[in-house]
Amino acid sequence: MHRGSVLLAATLAATMVCAAEHNEAVIRKQIQRLKESEVNGWRKVPWAASLLAARRASEREKRPLFLFTYCGNLETGRC
């Protein structure tokens, strides 16, 4: 009886470990898929660090400036 209980407990524990491993792989994949869905081409544009830095570069190069102003935080998608 005692041996049976121990065996059952061991089997249950092993099942929980297997389920946890399976769940972890699935969740990790789902999170990865979500992260990879980001459209982030805009990050490749060589943005200047600030408006003043851009103005200085624009004057130095005698070249127009492209300014996009927005509300929120473009970096976090909260905009």
Binding site: A13, I27, Q30, I31, K44, L52, L65, F66, L67, R78
Partner: protein, 288 residues
Amino acid sequence: MRVSSLSDPRVMDLISTYFVPVLVSRDDYQRTPRSEDEKAELLRIDRECARRGLKGGSVCVFLLAANGDLLATQRVQQACKPENLLPLLQQLIAEQKLRPRSQEAIQASAAQPAAIAPSRDRKEVEGPFLHIWTRLDTGPNYGLGHDRVALSVAQCQAFLPPADAKPGTSWNIPEEITRPLFQYGYPPFPQWEAKDCKVQKGTLKATLAAISEDEARIQLEGEMLLKFPLGRPSEGYITARFVGLAREDRKKQTLTSLMLMSEQAEYVWYWQGKPQLRKMRIALELGP
């Protein structure tokens, strides 16, 4: 704009090659406030825009000459479509007979990635951090929302099993721990302030799945109800069921992994009194 025109390869190519490009947030949300000189320059541009009767606004493209004169503007409603922004850029390039910038000049004016990247939660300099990603899966594409919040020691410890826990032991993560984390589970919208969100429900149940001398594995499941007003008088809310896992380093008694995922979250908002449903996904993950 960031997922449409600013990520359109044709627009990216023109603004990278022929212009000095710069992004400016009007309110520095989650960012270091800008200098007084920069505020003054932005004000000068806005005033010139108004004086000349050009279409301006908070969310707008401004094209400036090398001496700072305003050449043209395009509001976001138009500029977010590449077919509107491209002709404006092409026209200016042709009129001014612009030649491509040299790689040296581009590199000289470009910010180091670190100068714009760590804009999240700048006040928090020490981790560990929890990353929260949100995405609407139906309707217009607003891209991905991504917040990063620092976890306190108390928040981390709440996920760790009690000292005498055995596989199968469950405990509830207190709502005062989950609420500040679930608060960021709102969709990436122009309504962007986290403080406007109110967590109505934020339950999380932890169950010890496996334990050894080195490691404990914890399964997580929970629910979230988040109020998220989208303008007035409409009010919206997000419902989500989460499943997840955490790991503890037993020797160091620290949280080494934490993941929560909701694949079938729903965002409901109201239009003329009728509920409008949009599917969304929410993920939370411990990270640098």
